[in-house]
């Protein structure tokens, strides 16, 4: 794994954008202006960015209910996303989808999904399509430690195994599905990756709070899949910095857990330490990005607030390409 200066800056920018986007949402939601379910990705940035930085728009990803990070990492327009979450006409999906249903096919983002486990079969379908293109592109399903128990996820792994298509199953184990621990809900003696292995799918494991580990392990996996070896899986040990959704009192957390993970498992802090210690980048480089990102998010919120609500007359538009 060799990342040049620009690539490092870009990776940091992406992770910082996600973090700032989510932290800002955390505050904005308290104002009551944003309703519905908003699941924040903060804490898991190294996963989305460590993976998506190695993809092109030709590679397709299918995301989850906790999709902001995947969207930003894959290249969705941040301002369009913010407008979407505010339910505005100028939103990426015209305000119809909201936080759980953001998609942008132009960048290869096939959609967040409110149905846990809904995306995995679709990623296999994408991989079926991409194999036909013959260009080594891949279809990726992001799933949580909760989603890994849904029947669709297993079916998708089996179908990928049988058809040997370039599908990748990314399991982000943040150790909670809503208020339940993975120690309870994931039936296994080992881990999620080992369940993928039981389908004959080659699997990897990485530290989902360490961008460099994600990047290098996923890089190896990606090479394997792009080379036509069939599907692969990766389990990432990561952390969710906020509640399941905004408003969650998080009483399931251990004493001091939130402090500890912020302290020890913050991928942004770790990234900064690593690149500055290694003299790959200077603090000032990163600070400059932080400032740019802060500015971007500030503008995104301001523009979202200022944007018009969708016109009521559009409520039943775009159900079909053409109906009669």
């Amino acid at each position: 794994m060799q990342l040049n200066r620009d690539e490092l800056l870009q990776a940091y920018r992406q992770m910082a954008t996600i973090r700032t986007f989510e932290e800002r949402l955390h505050d904005e939601i308290k104002t009551g202006e944003i309703a519905g379910f908003t699941h924040l990705y903060a804490g898991q940035e190294a996963v989305a960015v460590g993976i998506c930085e190695q993809l092109t728009h030709a590679d397709k990803i299918v995301s989850t209910h906790r999709g902001h990070g995947h969207c930003i990492a894959k290249g969705c327009d941040v301002k369009g996303m913010m407008k979407e979450i505010y339910g505005r006409a100028g939103g990426l999906c015209k305000g119809r989808g909201g936080s759980m249903h953001i998609a942008d096919l132009d960048v290869g983002m096939l959609g967040a999904n409110g149905i846990v486990g809904g995306g995995a079969p679709q990623a296999v379908g994408a991989a079926i399509a991409l194999r036909l293109e013959g260009k080594g592109s891949v279809g990726i399903a992001f799933s949580g430690d909760g989603a890994c128990n849904q029947g669709t996820t297993f079916e998708a792994m089996n179908l990928a195994s049988v058809t040997k298509v370039p599908a990748i199953f990314v399991f982000e184990n943040n150790h909670y599905s809503e208020h339940t621990g993975d120690a309870y809900a994931v039936g296994t003696d080992k881990d999620i990756a080992s369940r993928a292995e039981a389908f004959g799918i080659k699997s990897w494991r990485a530290n989902g709070c360490d961008f460099f580990d994600v990047f290098s392990v996923f890089g190896e996996l990606l090479e394997y899949v792009r080379a036509g070896n069939g599907p692969a899986a990766i389990e990432l040990d990561t952390e969710r910095f906020y509640g399941h959704f905004e408003g969650d009192p998080q009483r399931y957390r251990g004493k001091g857990e939130l402090d500890r993970i912020r302290d020890e498992r913050d991928c942004l802090k770790a990234f900064r330490a690593r690149v500055t210690e290694g003299a790959l980048l200077a603090d000032a480089d990163l600070d400059a990005i932080d400032a740019e990102v802060a500015q971007l998010i500030e503008e995104a919120v301001a523009e979202a607030r200022a944007d018009a609500m969708p016109d009521n007359d559009t409520v039943a538009d775009d159900v079909y390409v053409n109906y009669y």
């Binding site: 309703a35 519905g36 379910f37 339910g87 505005r88 939103g91 305000g95 119809r96 989808g97 909201g98 936080s99 759980m100 249903h101 999904n113 409110g114 149905i115 846990v116 486990g117 909760g146 989603a147 128990n149 849904q150 029947g151 669709t152 909670y176 599905s177 809503e178 208020h179 339940t180 621990g181 993975d182 120690a183 309870y184 809900a185 994931v186 039936g187 969650d248 009192p249 998080q250 009483r251 399931y252 957390r253 251990g254 004493k255 857990e257 609500m309 969708p310 009521n312 559009t314 409520v315 039943a316 538009d317 159900v319």
Partner: protein, 336 residues
């Protein structure tokens, strides 16, 4: 009579019925909550607050947190019910019928018939449904028409705390699978609830008000919207017979027909898209049974033929509103 809200009525009925009948078990995602975490079981109960304290009181063999696998939840409920238990399974959102329909439709609903009437499957499935909280296209749907269409299921939709208690008790005492729909915007609705044992038989509509000029039939959240419309109409001297269906399968056809025979005019309010809907079901039934009594075509107030949008304004535009109900009433009254 205690005053409580629907959430409390459901929670307390579950609790007291489980105390009474040791065959009742509860299962679903996070109905306990906190399992496998530092906080431990019941650190946080379900996201709707309808199952607090059950685990502590009745233990882990009767109050079961499940992984995210709704087919397994409903299937397990079906299997346990065949073995003499009375499972109460929770679908955190009614939209998850999508990932569990087979167990509801081809299994639970059909056992008794397919097996020659020798079995019973007294499972209760609690489905949290409805729009109004901007939960968007996959978490806002009113799935009752789809389940009303299925022979073998009963479909229940309480709108008051008393009915929540009475209908849930009835569901837990009966021997057929019951789909118990809880509208997510109605949990906070308060009202008096009879003390002690209280059962509300299925198939008896609630007469919300009598007015004599027009019949309005509604269920779920649409009942209170219809009341708002009726209030405005009353101010103009228009009297509404408002029926809250309470259950759509069985359905109190007679109550509807009786009212329509007097008013000759019918509006049906249905929080769902229009095609093959409950609104159409009732309109067709009334036209068949009371053709000579109706003076205007039954009006169906439904959402449009589209998914439910996220945006606040669009969601409001999608859901039938008091205004649209009022307009429909005026339309049927004006029909010549």
């Amino acid at each position: 009579m205690a005053v409580m809200n629907i959430r409390e009525a459901i929670a307390s009925t579950l609790y007291s019925e489980m105390e009474r009948d040791e065959n009742i078990i509860v299962l679903g995602e996070d109905v306990v909550g906190g399992n496998g975490t530092a906080g431990g079981p019941e650190a946080i109960g379900g996201i709707w607050g309808t199952t607090p304290g059950l685990w502590a009181k009745f233990g882990p063999d009767r109050v079961i947190d499940t992984p995210i696998s709704e087919s397994a939840i409903i299937g397990a409920a079906a299997g346990a019910a065949l073995c003499g238990k009375r499972p109460v399974a929770e679908l955190m959102f009614a939209d998850f019928v999508g990932v569990s329909l087979d167990q509801l439709w081809n299994q639970m609903a059909k056992f008794r018939y397919m097996f020659g009437g020798k079995t019973k499957c007294p499972a209760v499935v609690r489905l949290i449904y409805g729009a109004g909280m901007q939960t968007a296209a996959q978490h806002s749907q009113s799935v009752y028409a789809m389940l009303t269409a299925i022979p073998g299921l009963k479909v229940v939709l309480p709108t008051t705390p008393a009915d929540a208690k009475g209908l849930l008790t009835e569901a837990l005492r009966g021997d057929d699978p019951v789909m118990f729909f809880e509208h997510k915007t109605l949990y906070g609705v308060k009202g008096e609830v009879p003390d002690g044992e209280y059962r509300q038989p299925f198939g008896q509509a609630r007469v919300v008000r009598e007015g004599g000029d027009v019949t309005v039939v509604a269920c779920g959240r649409m009942v209170s919207f219809s009341e708002k419309a009726a209030d405005k109409l009353a101010a103009d001297g228009v009297g509404v017979d408002l029926l809250d269906l309470r259950t759509t399968s069985p359905m109190d056809e007679d109550a509807i027909i009786e009212s329509v025979e007097q008013t000759g005019r019918l509006v049906i309010v249905d929080e769902s898209p229009p095609r093959c809907s409950l609104a159409a079901d009732i309109a067709a039934m009334v036209t068949e049974r009371a053709f000579t009594s109706i003076k205007a075509p039954p009006a169906m107030v439904t959402g449009p033929h589209s998914p439910i949008p996220f945006s606040r304004t669009l969601e409001r535009a999608w859901v039938p509103s008091p205004q649209k109900i009022e307009d429909a009433v005026r339309r049927v009254l004006g029909f010549r």
